[in-house]
Each structure stands twice: as C-alpha cells, then as structure tokens.
Subunit: 461 residues, 3 copies
C-alpha cells in the first residue's frame, strides 16, 4: 500500500539545502536504525556514546563522540537509551540546557512506572525541552522501509517550537506526525504500542463465554440426547451442524447487545430528565465498544452464511436426501408440493439474505476510510436506521426459521428448548423497548433532553 | 478505529506552555461541549453570557463574564449562538474589531438563507475576521469522545492568519482541519452536514423504479400467468425466485449505465472535434455519479450471488428434484448425461463467478484508502479495462444462461419475453458502441482530441 | 468518496485576502487546466506564451504575455512545457534568478533520461529554485473535479521555502501535498505515474505460470486420461471442475510462499549470527511483495469458495446425484450412513471455512485505512499469528480432503499423483521449518539476534 512513499523517498542526502545536525545518544539497535534513516533523509548525524570506538554497525557517515561533545553539535538530541540509564544525563544538565531532548523509549508493561519516561526525563534535565516521539515505530520497520503497520508517529511535548522541530524530522523520514498535545499525553503514548486490541477484549471474551455455553447446550440436545435415547452416533454434528447453530445465535445476541446500551441510555436520560449527568461507568464502556461488538457479530454472521451454503455439499446431507428419495421411490408414493412450507422456507432465507446484506453494509461503513467520508447525519442514518432494520430482519429470520417448532413439544428435549429460542430473548427485548420509545409521548421529551433541555435545571451562583 | 487518537489525547491542561485564552459566546449545548473540550486540551476558556450566573453545567474551570468583558480577554471568540440572535453583536462591533470570530452555526435546511451564516456575521461585524469551522462536529461526539463518524473539520475564512489560529485549535482538540479556502465556501460547508448521500439519490431512485417495473413484469409472467392458465399457486416465488430474477437484471443494467456516459461522451467529442466544450448538464451529472451507480450495481450482484447459492437449500427446489428423481425411478428409466447441457450450465456459472469476482475487485479499488494508493494510470487501468471486462463477462453470463430459450416460443408468455432479455439491451448497446470506438479510424482522432487537439481551433485576438 | 472536498471547494476568487500571482509557461492542455483551477481558487494567473494571441481556451481572467514579461509578474512559475523545449529558458536565466520554477512534466517511459526532468531544469537555470510537483495529477481530473484516483501530489525540491510555497498552492487547489524530500527524489516521482502495479508483477506472473502448469496437469489427468481409457467426454470439466482444482492449489502455494521468506530469513540470521548483514537481493525483493502474494492467494481462495458453492447447482452434479439415487432405488437397496465419511466430509469443510474466514480477516487488516489504525504489536499479531493459523487450517483442509486417496493406487493416473498432493509440498515444508524454529534452542538465539545481539561482533577503530 504505502509503496509510493517508501519507494519515492529521497535516497540520498540533500546537500544544497543543509539540514540541521541531529545527535543520537546511544548506539543500540534503534539508535542505529534511526541514524541510518536520518542520514538517508539528508540529516548530518552525530552519535553520543560512552566509548568512542566505532562499531561497524554504525553508519559510516555518522560521527561518534562522547556524550558531551556530541550534544554540543546539535540542537536536537534523540535519547535512544533505556529509562534505567537516564541518570547519566544529570551531569550533562548544563550542556543540555535549552536543547530538544527526544524521548523514544518504550516500557515492557502498561503503566510500568508512576510517571511516563518522558516526564521522568523532563524532571532529570529540567532545562531541556522534552518531546516524546518515535516510540510507536519499530527499528526493523525503519531499517527495511516496510512500514506496513503504520506510519503514524505520536508526538507530544510542552514546548511548541521543539515539538514542531521534531515533527519536521518525522515528516522528512516519510512518516506522519500526530500532535497529541502536552507532555501529559506521554503516558498514553508510551502505553499505546503495548496494547493488544484493548477495545476488542470485552467483545471477544463475551463471545468465548457464549460459545462455550451454547456449545454444551447444543451438544446435550443434539448429540448426547439422541445417543442416550436412540443410540445414534451424531458426534460428527460437532464439525458443522452445531457450529452452524452457535454462529447465528452469537451473531444475533451480539447484534442486539450493540443496540441495548442505546435504549438503556435513553431510559436513564428520560428518568433523570437531563443528559448532563454521566452514565454509569459500565454503560459508558459498553457504549464505547459497540462498534467492536457489531464487528464480532458480523464475523459470526459471515461464518453462519458460509456454514449454511455448504450444507448441500455435506456428505451427510446428500445421504439423507438420497435415502429419503429412495424410500419414497420404494414406497411408490409422490409427495405433493407443500406451498406453506415453500413460503416459510423461502421467507426465512430471503430475510436472512437481506439481513446479512445490510449487516455487511454496516460493516463496510465502519471502515475508517469510508466513515471519514460521510457526514454526521449520514453516519447516524446508516448506523441507527439501517442498524435497526438489520436487527429486525435478523430477528424475523430466526423467528420464521423456527416458528413451526416453537410450540411443538417434540422440540423440547430434557425440557431444554431449542437454542435459537434463547437467542431471541435479547433482540426481542431491545426491539420492544425501542418500539415503545418511538411513541411521541416518550420520543418528544427525549429529543428535547438530547438537545440540551433539562427537566430540573440547577443554577448555582 | 480512532481509538488511538481519542484515547491518547492529552487529558489535562498544559500548564507550562500556556495556550491562548478562547472566548465562547453562548452557554448552550454546543458552547458548553466545546468549552469542556478546550479546557481538557489546555486552553483557558471564558464564556460570554447575557446573565453572569454560572450554570452547574458550565465547566468549573471556565470564567463566565458579560459579552463585552469576555471578548476583551481573548483574541478568538467562538460564536455558539443561533443566527437569528446575531444582532446582539452589532453594539459590540468596536470591541470585536480585529478579533477572530468563529462561526460554528448550522441551519435546518439546505440553502435556508440567501447568504451563509458566516458571511452574514462578517457583514454584521465588518471589523472582525470571520472563520467558519466546527459546524460538522456534533456536540455529543465532542463530549463523549467517540468521534466515529468523522474527525474532519472544514475551515474557511478570508484571513489566512485567523484561519491558521483556528486550525491550530482544531488540531489541539484531536480533530483534523481541512482548509476549504475563502469565506465564499461557507455556504457549502453549512450545507454539508445537512446532506444525506446526495450523490446516491439518483442511483437509488433509478433502481427503485427499475425494481418496481421488473417486479410487476416478473409477477405477471411467473405467478399470474401460471395461476390463470394452469391454476397453480406459485405466489411463494416472490420471496426468492422473482427477487433473484430482479437482482441480476438490475446489476447488469446499472453496470452498463456506468459505461454508457463514457461512450456517449466519446461520440460527442468526436462529433464536436474538441474536448473543450462542456458536455450537456445531464451527462456531466451522470458522469459524476458513475461510481455510485457501480456500487449499487455491485450490491444487486452480491444479492444475486447469495440468492443463487441458497437455491439448493430451498424446500421447493428439494421437493422438485426429489419428485423428478422419484418419477424417474418409478418409470424405471435412467437419463444419460447431456454433455451440451453440462457445458452450458458450467459455462454460465463460470462466467458469472469470474464477472462477480472482477466486480468485487472494482468495488474494493473504489474504497477511498485503496484508490488513494494507486496512481492515475493504475486507477484508469482498473476502472476502465477491468470494468469493461466485467461488463463483457456479465453480459456473456446472461446470454449463455438464457441462450437456449431465446428463440423458443414457449418462453414468451402473453407475448412478454423473459425479463433477462430486456436487461441485455443496454449492455449490448454499450459493448457494440465501445467495440466500434476501438477501431483505429475512430480511436486515433479521439485520443488526439483528448490530448487537447482541436479540429476547428478558434483563436480570438 | 471525495465528494465533500470537491464539492465544498471555494468556487470563486478570494478578493479580500489577495493571493500571489502565479505564472504558467505554456498554454497546452495541462497548463490551461491548471490555470483554470488556480483562478477558481483565487490566484491571479498570467500565462507566458510564444505568441501573445489569446486562445479562446485560455481562461478569460488570465493575462497572456511574453515569457519574459509574464515571469516578472510572479514569484512562482509553472513550467507546463515538454522537456525537449526547456532550452528556451536559457536566455531567460537572468529573469528567472531566484524564482520558484515548478516542473510538472512527465515522461513516456520509466527512466527515459539519465537525469530527471526537474534536475535537468535545475541545471539549465541554475539561479532558480526548482520544485517538482503536480506530475501525478491528470489534466482531465483537474478540469472535471473528479479526483477519484488520488488527491496526493508528490512535491520535492532543494529549497525548503520554495517547496513550502508550492505546497500551499497544492493545498489551496484541494489536493494533498506530500513532501518527498530533495530534488534527488524527482526521478522516482517522475517514474511514479508511469508505473502499473510494479509490486504485483511478480505475484501475477508467478500465478500465471502456476496456472498454466496445473491446468495442463489436470487436463491430462481428468479429461485426456478418461477419454483415452474410458472414451468418455469430460471436456466440460474445464469450465468449473478443473478451475476449482487449480484455484485452491494456487491459493495454498502462494499463501505458503508468503511465509517461506520469513523462515528462510530466520535460517540465514541464525547461520550468520547477526541481523545487520543484508539479505540476498532476491530474498529482499520477495519479502517486499509478500503482501501482494498474500492478496493474490486470497483472490484464488475466494474463487475456490465461489466455485465450490455452486457445485450443487451444476447440471452435471444434479444429474450424477439423481442417477445414483435412481440406480439405488432400482436396485432396491438403501445405503446406511457412513459416520466416518460424514466426519471427514464435515471436517474438511469446517477447516476450509475457518481457514477462509481467517484469510479474509488478514485481507481486511491489510487495507491501508485499517492497518493505519493498529499499532505495530497488533499488526504483527494479526499478520504473523493469525497468518500461520490460516496456513495450518488451509493445509489441514487439503490433507483431510484428500487423505483417503493418498495411498490409493487408483488415484495415480499415468503415475501422476492428484494435483492437490503437489500443492502440499511447500506449505508442509514451511510449517515443518517453522515448527522446528519454535523450539527454545533455536528461538532464543534468534530473538536475541533480532534484538541486535551479534554472535561475532566486529568493532573497527
């Protein structure tokens, strides 16, 4: 993707328009990688090192000096050293006065230290202007030029001018600087590269839990029950039949959970008569991961579609249909077409297809580059109107699918209802509440509250 | 998606590097939301209000003063007040001289007033520098930090420096400013958040019309005709069979309509002998919504694929196949393999699969983030070469599918041809014209015209 | 997509805040288009031309002067002239001293001249500040405002200030400037619009070669063999059966080739004991096109899925199943359910579905806008962990699918094994090596090497 930028990047130093010397403290892996890249982009580089012997790994074009000497040669000093060695900078405080120190360090754990490395550095060398940058870039990516993951470099710092200088360097290296504000943001910037899909944790844990529950539920009903009562081995149901029962159930439940916090929030706002009091913490968190919940639901819906479409290729299904036909032929009877059945079967398939289609549309509009190109009104229209339509279609799909067995006693094995019945509880609840909220007597005050109106406004002096 | 930025955003004021005070006129919903966010990002905020009583909703860190006092405290004043109350600023004109006034207002309808709110503001307070900004951001999104829809803030204004100052604030709030030029752009910026997919209106209305037409057409042929003549109830065909006839027809027609304006434009250019005269208005508009037409066509093609793949699961189809097999068995005959039929059936399926596959590829390259990463030549290659190949494959798919019934009189019910025959008219027209245009005797002059050559150049003094 | 920006762009000149005059040398197609756009964006434009007669095509608002006169009116001169005519600038050298010359030219072939056009221009007019820009934008796109392909304008130049001035103009036209460094980058910028998917060439050529090989391989085994020995005409297998054999084979081989260079690199690093020596060139190139290899593999996997899902609709398959059933019925026997077979059939389908699902996930995360929103650790997790899981699942899918025929002599026709057996060679090799590399005795030193440790560090003076 980013072939253009990485390919086109200037490959040799720019001699006529001299760039300012950059000093790098530390000749470790990242320091060297950054040095290489800086030289490639036309910056004179000087390394500050304990010993001044040159490793063969340090780019030839760079000078290697003692820390003090190197620092005097440049206005910007990149500290490519681990936090625990920052102490050595204290004696250099006088030389570093007024210099721009770029903290590029990362920790091993989230919130490892009480203060961020950059703030710690600023305390140690109070005269310098500390800027946090580059910690989200990997040394390997810098060296190889394959910055596939992300070209974004978060930059923060208290001194505007120093920040600007660092952002210019970032840009010259072909990366995209993102100003994150004052040095107080350093803690979050340092935590960022350590995160592993933090917003996805809850949706994924929730679905794992639900998968486990429904797996055993279906195992009991569909494998153990026939084994006990009919002595039939349906263990191969695990591969497809049971999975294809779990996937749609999870998709439906998770989709409903996307819309549940919205109706809960509406109820809370109506009850309180204001929108200015914070929601309970769990509701806030829930609302922030709705997008992830929805995408996980879409993943299960897609699996359900694939599992459903392979049904006619399964050797079990072929055997079953063929043996039914053979027994019909042997018994010399022809079944007439059951129109009601044809209606039901076609309806639930059509509802499912339309629901899935809208669901995929929702997923596409949540792609960053697409959602950046719609305005607020359009985004709301898609996510709210189309979203509810999807929920209605998917709920109807499930109901029509299972409608005929709903009241039949034979579908209760060991008093356990069919699994899809359980999956209908949350969606139906959400839809009923939403339906009630649409009535003008509730919708009107809610709209006013959301526009800033308050039932009991409180003014203080 | 934007988790990073929203999470990482500085959470506390930046004390060391003082930011300039921002004044907000108006303590309404949006004013307060913006005030909160500004304070979070380290800006001292002062509210200008009619009364100076502090509402509990106004952030504690902000001062509340009279309008005149507040205005004197800041160089930037955000006008968070509705247009109809702008008059109150006239007496303050002297104090506001030289200040940057940020107009954040929105209207309720597109082009509600003859001039944009920002231009109206500039007329009322001629001494101030008016900048339009923030109107595309919702108060709720600012408060909750879930700027999912878009972080883009359109900014326009006549004074470069004032615009720069506002864009710095936008950036400090974690949003992305987009410079839209002079204040003349304000009208469009104010209309922007009121739009609801303006480019999609024509393609969607067109397809609704076509759906309606082909629905009744197929209803007559496939449900009413057998009911009248054979007294058979095929009403359940509505759910899948008829839908799956309409979807491919619409996909093919809309796809052809994507390429029709291109060949029309070529004919016009050839006829006129120049590319410098404007196309008729309808052609211009048509060309601008080709992408949307194509994506709607892709949507119908996807639905067609889904509807086709569920065919073997439909209970009607299972019944039909099974009863055919049973009657074969009862009549004690085995049908030999019809190789021609196998060829035809496999060919139209293969053509359809390849056509759909290329169609999806076209859709993927039209994603903003993908098309940003290809150059002009690559984009043309994909959209033109691959696009025509898709059209050829899909047309061939339709022809091979229905070829055998083309001349059979039994496929004309009440003299109505099969619906798919109608769908072939436009694609075949486009392909024939395109084929003619490829001949060198037409292609050469066309290429020269498109490179700026003119048959009858006119020079004036 | 870019409707917003193109629609909202200021439509009329900005009178109050005068912009600086821009001079355009050359009244050709691109010069005029750029002139139009500049005037729309509020820039006064003056054309420099040999003759001063005004063509009707030149915007009315622009002045047309001789080159020397026009050059004196502006600080920025856009050279909209072909390289071979650059000589005429030599006499103007004195007038052009200190001016910003914008080279917008393109060549017809990659690396057509020894030096880039912009560098050539800089040599001819040594006193001017040459900036390369606009060459990636098409005249047609500028005129029509449909900048679908890309709004990115690569800018390079030796003079920072001159570059900044040009980038401001780019921005004012609603385009996105991308600073590419010094004028040395001009060659690459000039080559960029001539490229046609350079990174895709190797993957696509490779797959074409593999397709040809496997097509004839399968043709011999599946069409010619039965024709020779059984005199059966299976030529219609070409349309779907053989294609659906080639697609999964290519998907699996290409997917394995994505991971092969990684394990090769690990072996080389372990052998050398350092990560600081460059890999052989072929390995470097291979590693850089892994993403493209993976996406081509995904395309084949998607085709395989579509081809597989239409199986039950194929008339040949319907005939085969029906005739099997009829013969069963005529022979008056009912086959019992073969549980082992049901297990195998369901397992390979389930493995395939899961593998394809993960593969699609990998594809989605490689979309530019998605990969920009994950950090390095997350990207590695998805591309490495999930990628290997996909490879394992797809290999297992193929093994379970064909397991039963593996040792059966009847599956060897003319001593040729089934094609899918050949496809397993590379994936199994990769997985075995990877499995060995995971052992701590190899994994530990490898990790240390990748963190910068060296077995034989060499220090020079």
């Amino acid at each position: 993707m980013n072939k253009n930028s990485s390919n086109i990047m200037a490959l040799a130093p720019n001699t006529s328009n001299k760039r300012e010397t950059v000093c790098i403290f530390g000749t470790g892996d990242f320091g060297r990688a950054l040095g290489h890249k800086l030289i490639q982009s036309g910056y004179p580089v000087v390394f500050g090192s304990r010993g001044t012997q040159t490793s063969s790994l340090i780019p030839k074009e760079a000078e290697v000096l003692s820390h003090a000497e190197a620092a005097q040669k440049a206005a910007i000093i990149i500290i490519a050293i681990q936090r625990q060695h920052y102490n050595f900078l204290i004696p250099l405080a006088e030389i570093l006065r007024g210099k721009v120190l770029v903290d590029i360090s990362n920790n091993l754990k989230i919130n490892q230290y009480p203060e961020s490395n950059a703030e710690y550095l600023a305390q140690l060398v109070p005269g310098a202007k500390v800027v946090k940058a580059f910690n989200t870039v990997s040394a390997w990516a810098l060296q190889s030029g394959t910055l596939d993951a992300s070209r974004q470099v978060f930059v923060c710092g208290d001194d505007m001018e120093a920040k600007q200088m660092v952002m210019d360097i970032v840009r010259a290296l072909g990366l995209t600087p993102l100003d994150q504000g004052s040095l107080l943001a350093a803690q979050e910037i340092e935590n960022y590269p350590l995160q592993l899909f933090p917003m996805w944790k809850f949706p994924i844990l929730l679905s794992l839990g639900l998968i486990a529950f429904f797996f055993f539920y279906c195992l009991i009903r569909d494998v153990i029950y026939p084994y006990v009562y009919e002595n039939k081995d349906y263990s191969f149901f695990i591969a497809i039949s049971i999975t294809n029962r779990i996937c749609p159930i999870l998709a439906l439940i998770l989709l409903a959970l996307v819309y549940l916090p919205g109706v809960l929030a509406a109820i809370i706002q109506l009850y309180r008569g204001t929108k200015y009091r914070r929601f309970p913490d769990w509701l806030d968190k829930w609302m922030l991961c709705r997008k992830q919940l929805g995408l996980v639901a879409l993943a299960f819906a897609s699996l359900h579609v694939l599992y459903t479409l392979v049904i006619p290729i399964r050797s079990f299904v072929r055997w079953r249909i063929s043996s039914q036909t053979v027994s019909q032929a042997l018994n010399n009877k022809t079944e007439p077409l059951d129109t009601t059945n044809a209606w039901l079967s076609d309806s639930y398939l059509a509802l499912g297809i339309l629901g899935f289609f809208l669901f995929v549309l929702l997923g596409i509009t949540s792609l960053p580059s697409v959602s950046n190109n719609v305005n607020w009104r359009e985004f709301r229209f898609v996510q709210s109107k189309l979203g509810y339509l999807t929920l209605v279609l998917c709920t109807a799909h499930t109901m029509v699918y299972g409608g005929k067995w709903f009241l039949s006693p034979s579908s209760y094995r060991w008093y356990l209802p069919n699994a899809y019945m359980l999956s209908l509880i949350i969606p139906c609840t959400v839809l009923v509440i939403k339906f009630v909220l649409v009535f003008p007597c509730l919708d009107k005050p809610l709209t006013r509250i959301r526009q800033g109106w308050e039932r009991n406004p409180q003014y203080s002096e």
